[in-house]
Symmetry: C2
Subunit: 254 residues, 2 copies
């Protein structure tokens, strides 16, 4: 009989942001598959087996986990943040879709988690307080012309934009280009939040105007949130500024 | 000296999806402000005070909570799901933005939670596995023509769409009209997920094709997720179908 295959999210890295449901899945599993730094967030027992793999080997990792589950083990595939947002749940579904028929009968349990944009938003106010979108800036996943088109359309639509995978050593120019595209559509004063490592000891939150936003303010651990024309900044004397997007949009706005 | 003002999310209603961070905020607060059914999700001590208010009184609730915090109490404003997604964090920021200057010095702590679309996505596979957006269908919050424009643009952009506040007694026709608009842009077979009360005892998940999607399948407790042209359904013999959006988009797609 097949084992159960959990796909969990650890949240952004603050242990207090990992749900009891995810912890229960960890307690129930015998084998763990994931990117090493995400597995490091778990407190495993000596009898639990750890299979760390590189961040780019998602489909192979999913297949290996499914094979173990079919063989009868309870296994746990581990993502940072939420497993359904640019993470392992889609890789596991892809593997099932194109894999042997017995993989379809595995007891798949996806456990949601706090995704980066929600953690960043909470630390800065409420920038996602009205309509918003999440876009991965990785052109490993889709052609760059599609990313450009999406950025233009969502900015024209007036949505706040959360950018995942904004920059890496292999993708150094894409975020700067994204800012250029958005400057054609959005006001110069539109707030841009660089939310790095939200909730972790090395957290760093900075806010810029779109006109001045500098891609070098982001690294691989950063989620970038670009406001809409409605998004506002509240200056505070004794505390960091707040950024929020109002709940209401008046007649006549875009 | 001012007290602390927490704004927390309970998650979608399954106690195992509420974070330790949110529970710690509850333990630290003396007064609680929120919509009654959300306050009902908390286990309060006899010394903790509950101020339930109607779902439509968000700004008044935020002002009352800020007033209590300035007077020195640790208070907790309670949202369902995540407080930053169509919920109380934006209402509290609005109140601070337009309120007396001492409100800016309140120690505001927003605690993220599992928002409905993540919980629904987890129960059905990985429909949010690539770029996606969250749009409130409530035309109490913005003019209907803006909603129509946003739906068209995000569908043209190829984003998966999570609809919050899809339907209510006062807004009976909007979801059907939204489906009509999306049918002009998206393929007839695009999967539509009606995710009701994810993780709660009265959970109900159904999947339709966009061509056949019926607005009466949704109620106020439903988050509706409409796929992109890339979104796929995996039929399973012994289990419910899975819905997922692949991580990769090939050259030549939109």
């Amino acid at each position: 009989m097949s084992g159960r295959l959990y796909v969990i999210g650890t949240g952004p890295g603050n242990p207090a942001q990992m749900t009891p449901e995810a912890l229960a899945a960890v307690a129930d599993a015998a084998e763990f598959f994931g990117y090493g730094p995400y597995l490091d967030r778990l407190s495993l027992r000596p009898d639990q087996i750890r299979h760390a793999s590189d961040n780019r080997e998602e489909l192979d990792r999913a297949k290996t986990a499914l094979t173990s589950a079919v063989a009868g083990a309870n296994v746990c595939v581990v993502s940072g943040g939420d497993p359904g947002v640019f993470a392992m749940a889609a890789a596991v579904c892809e593997a099932i879709d194109h894999g042997p028929s017995e993989w379809r009968n595995v007891d798949l349990v996806v456990v949601p988690g706090i995704t980066a944009m929600l953690a960043v938003a909470a630390r800065i106010g409420a920038p996602l307080g009205h309509d918003f979108c999440a876009i991965s800036l990785s052109d490993n996943l889709k052609p760059w012309n599609i990313i450009e088109n999406r950025l233009r359309l969502v900015a024209e639509a007036g949505l706040v934009i959360a950018l995942y995978n904004p920059i890496s050593k292999a993708r150094p120019w894409q975020l700067g280009k994204a800012f250029d595209i958005l400057r054609d559509v959005l006001p110069a004063k539109t707030p841009v939040v660089f939310g790095r490592a939200a909730g972790r000891p090395d957290e760093r939150m900075t806010v810029a105007r779109l006109a001045d936003a500098d891609a070098s303010s982001a690294d691989m651990a950063t989620c970038v949130i670009i406001g809409s024309a409605e998004t506002r900044v509240i200056a505070r004397e004794t505390k960091p500024d707040l950024v929020y997007t109002p709940r209401f949009i008046k007649e006549g706005a875009r």
